[in-house]
């Protein structure tokens, strides 16, 4: 032990004194070895790109590139087969969009609340909740969507939607009306303001309440023919993507620092005004990065959409109808790879790799953009 320490002390001394060739070589080799191991992840990315592309390219040379992106006829097992993936691409897009609509607003408000509103102690207990949501395996989410949520949606879908609509929209509408009434009243003379405010509020309020009631009734009466549809998948995917959104956005908000906030408070802004007008714009690129990462999580997710989206390869009618089943890229790959001959190079096998290539390129581009965004926030703050 002791001699070892002596040796190393001696050797490092010798190294600093003169260039001991042997020592330098060892050092060089050691560092080289570390570099090689580190490069493994670069190699992995490269290999993934190469091998997915290698198996995808035969498809694009065999059939028309156009058919894949333009036609909606997805009959890979018929003779002759047709590989129109438009409806599948659309399904992926629709479900991801729905998930983003759930995850981004909810995630952003949660992140703001975590970083600026809640006291430290509460924050410490909420953080594990977010972590647990992130940790639950995707297949468990899928199981919940298929076994618990889908039957509930099928049987009580209308009332559930109506209540959710009322709960979410009513407070927002009330606040908007309040602001509108205030703005309208500001144009009048001082002594008439409260009257105008009350009048505008009552008038708009009555209209809004009527609209709310009508829309809610319509939602209430909806009959949902199948619980496994785009809406189910979108909601569950949204919840899955929430932790990503919350944690990345919260980091971005935290990175803004106290100075900016204090400056805003000093100018007389309330906390809400500080957050909406100062902090969120300053953290915009970080929040955008969070949104992109959440979207990536949603579009790349397999099990939930495979189990909950209904797997019907057609575009809903009308296109924004979330209550119809859809089919996504990931679910198609997962579901069809078993049927396609896995080792021999059938066209069906290659078209699935083409889908994977589309997914891969999409996530590469998204990743690049989000990295840029995060780097930009960092640079600006410095």
């Amino acid at each position: 032990m002791r001699t070892g320490m002596m040796n190393s002390a001696k050797s490092s001394l010798m190294l600093s004194r003169s260039a001991n060739r042997n020592q330098r070589l060892t050092r060089w080799f050691g560092e080289g070895f570390l570099l090689v191991v580190t490069s493994l992840s670069m190699l992995a990315v490269l290999f993934i790109l190469i091998f997915i592309a290698r198996d995808a390219l035969p498809f694009f040379s065999w059939t028309h590139f156009k058919e894949f992106f333009v036609s909606t006829a997805w009959y890979p097992t018929q003779n002759p087969p047709s590989f129109g993936a438009l409806s599948i691409l659309f399904g992926s897009l629709l479900v991801t969009l729905g998930a983003a609509l759930v995850a981004i607003p909810l995630g952003l408000t949660a992140a703001v609340c975590l970083s600026d509103v809640l006291p430290f102690r509460v924050r410490q207990t909420v953080k594990p909740v977010v972590e647990m949501l992130a940790a639950i395996p995707s297949v468990a989410y899928g199981f919940f969507a298929l076994i618990v949520f889908a039957p509930a949606l099928q049987e009580h879908g209308g009332p559930m939607l109506a209540w959710a609509f009322w709960l979410v929209v009513t407070p927002f509408l009330a606040l908007t009306l309040l602001v509108l009434a205030d703005l309208a009243a500001a144009r009048f003379a001082e002594n008439r303001q409260s009257l105008v405010r009350g009048l505008v509020f009552a008038l708009l309020g009555a209209m809004a309440a009527w609209g709310l009631w009508k829309t809610g009734r319509r939602l209430h009466g909806l009959e949902i023919s199948s619980g496994t549809n785009a809406l189910n998948a979108a909601i569950i995917l949204g919840i899955m993507a929430l932790p990503t959104m919350v944690s990345v956005a919260e980091d971005a908000l935290q990175a803004i620092g106290r100075d900016l906030r204090m400056a805003s408070y000093a100018l007389g802004a309330t906390r809400a005004e500080t957050l909406v007008r100062v902090v969120i714009p300053a953290a915009a690129s970080g929040i955008l990065a969070a949104a992109i990462l959440a979207i990536m999580r949603a579009i790349g997710e397999t099990m939930v959409v495979w189990m909950a989206s209904g797997n019907a390869a057609r575009i809903p009618e009308p296109w924004y109808n979330l209550l119809e089943p859809v089919r996504t890229l990931t679910a198609t790959i997962a579901g069809d790879m078993g049927e396609a001959d896995q080792s021999a190079g059938s066209a069906h096998y290659h078209v699935l790799f083409a889908m994977a290539l589309v997914l891969l390129l999409f996530s590469l581009v998204c990743n690049m953009i989000s990295e840029r965004m995060i780097a930009r926030t960092r640079r600006r703050l410095r």
Binding site: M5, S12, L13, L34, L35, V37, T38, S39, L40, S41, M42, A44, I48, I52, D55, T109, A110, C113, L114, L118, P128, V129, V130, E131, M132, A135, I136, S138, V139, A140, Y141, F143, F144, L146, I147, L175, L178, V179, D182, L183, I239, R271, A272, E273, L275, L293, M296, G300, T302, M303, M307, T330, A334, M337, Q342, L352, A356, L359, S363, N367
Partner: protein, 448 residues
């Protein structure tokens, strides 16, 4: 300009909005976990009938033989009137006028089938081939479903139009005045005597093999497969990840190559999991021929690649969090760079690295998409360590999917599905809990 009152109100409602979103988040977690936990525990703790104890004794050689014999005798006595009623009605059916016979016979067949599902094969019958038809209902909750099936016929009421409403029609009225009529009241009131339900703790659900496609037995092979895959992925990814992190933190200079490396790591983290699965198939199986077909080895390697970026990032963070003073102290004592990394920095960063490793373990255990084409099969025996190099395995995440969407009798084995999800979720959450505890220790321990 807004009034001060409105601004204050807006501010307060903004706070409310934030709190609401946090509440929603928590509610989502609770709603998600509640059914999984409540019904998942039902796979381990439930009211087992005498049939369950029979399965245990006859197929798994567990339990008290004499005790069971007594129980079987008692339940057989309780069952006798049911069998008698069936037999009596069978004879009555032959004497009936043809029109009435044609009307009652199909429904009688339904009742007989339901009784067989509830109690197992009728006495004097040949032992059926399928194990699921050799025994009656092993669980009291399933038995009650079957009793309803005996008592009521399902019918659809189309008077409202559309899909029709499900209606339950008591069979006792259909068979009114026949020899079968007493059977229904008897089944309703003597079910407990016929099946002798008892609270059972079936802890070996976790380790038992499944019998007859999960109708009986536990989830042993799946749990073992998940264990193999997770440990394999960790064995591959942890050394690689930690070495990469050491290089990036301690040795790398900021040059183009290192920047490229960082971009690649974050890119790897963003690749969809299903693409990892396809890559594993295309590269490890179809190109390198690591194994002829799916195998645990290939699955573990694929999962290892998937968790590699997470481990690199966590280790990097942990290494960076080690105070500069530690390193300087080591260097000033005469240790070389590598030596100070090995003996001072790495041990100080170990808890942080461990946190990342534990969280990645949870991720690897729960991922499904990468193992569909590389490692997972629906049914299989537990593997020995040597077999993992060439054989595929059942695994919890894949079998959860498989059992709840591709199994022949999805409704019959709900408890197994819930049990699997429960096991997986508890495993993953326990790992995360461990990570949280380790992290709490670090923030206390690592101070300058």
């Amino acid at each position: 300009m807004l009034r001060l009152g409105t601004r204050k109100l807006l501010d307060r409602s903004f706070t409310g909005l934030g709190v609401l979103s946090i509440t929603l988040l928590t509610a989502a977690l609770l709603i998600l976990l509640a059914p999984m936990c409540l019904r998942g525990i039902g796979a381990y703790v439930f009211q087992g009938t005498v049939e369950f104890r029979r399965v245990l004794l006859e197929k798994l050689q567990r339990g008290d033989r004499d005790e069971l014999k007594r129980e079987l005798a008692a339940t057989a006595r309780a069952r006798q009137p049911v069998f008698d009623a069936l037999l009596a009605f069978q004879q009555e059916l032959d004497r009936m006028p043809a029109t009435q016979r044609r009307k009652l016979k199909p429904e009688f067949e339904q009742v007989r089938a339901a009784v067989k599902e509830l109690l197992g094969p009728l006495p004097g019958e040949e032992i059926p081939l399928m194990m699921r038809s050799q025994y009656g209902q092993t669980r009291w909750d399933r038995a009650q479903v079957k009793i309803r099936k005996i008592l009521f016929a399902e019918d659809y009421d189309f008077s409202g139009g559309g899909l029709g409403r499900k209606m339950l029609k008591p069979r006792a009225t259909t068979f009114h005045g026949t020899a079968l009529e007493p059977l229904f009241a008897y089944v309703e009131h003597h079910a407990v005597a016929m099946l002798a339900p008892q609270w059972t703790f079936y802890g070996r659900f976790l380790t038992d093999e499944s019998h007859d496609a999960h109708f009986f037995g536990g989830i042993g092979p799946e749990a073992l497969g998940t264990l193999y895959l997770t440990l394999g992925a960790i064995l591959f990814a942890v050394p690689m990840g930690v070495i990469a992190a050491i290089y990036l933190v301690e040795y790398a200079r900021e040059n183009r190559l290192v920047r490229l490396l960082r971009i690649c790591i974050s890119t790897l983290a963003g690749v969809p999991s299903i693409v990892f699965g396809l890559f594993g198939l295309a590269f490890f199986i179809n190109t390198v021929h690591l194994s002829a077909n799916k195998s645990v080895l290939v699955g573990a390697l694929t999962l290892g690649l998937l968790i590699l970026p997470t481990i690199i990032r966590a280790s990097e963070e942990a290494l960076r969090a080690v105070p500069e003073a530690y390193k300087q102290a080591a260097l000033s004592l005469g240790a070389g760079h590598w030596r100070s990394v090995r003996t001072v920095i790495l041990p100080a960063a170990l808890p942080g690295i461990l946190t990342g490793v534990i969280i990645s373990m949870g991720r690897a255990a729960g991922e499904t998409a990468p193992i569909i084409f590389t490692a997972a099969v629906s049914v299989g025996k537990p593997l020995t360590l040597w077999q993992t190099l060439s054989q595929p395995t059942p695994a919890l995440p894949w079998n959860i999917y498989n059992l709840c969407s591709e199994h022949v009798a999805v409704d019959e084995i709900r408890h197994v599905q819930y049990g699997m999800v429960f096991t997986l979720v508890v495993l993953v959450l326990l790992l995360n809990l461990a990570a949280i505890i380790v992290r709490a220790r670090i923030s206390k321990g690592l101070r300058t």
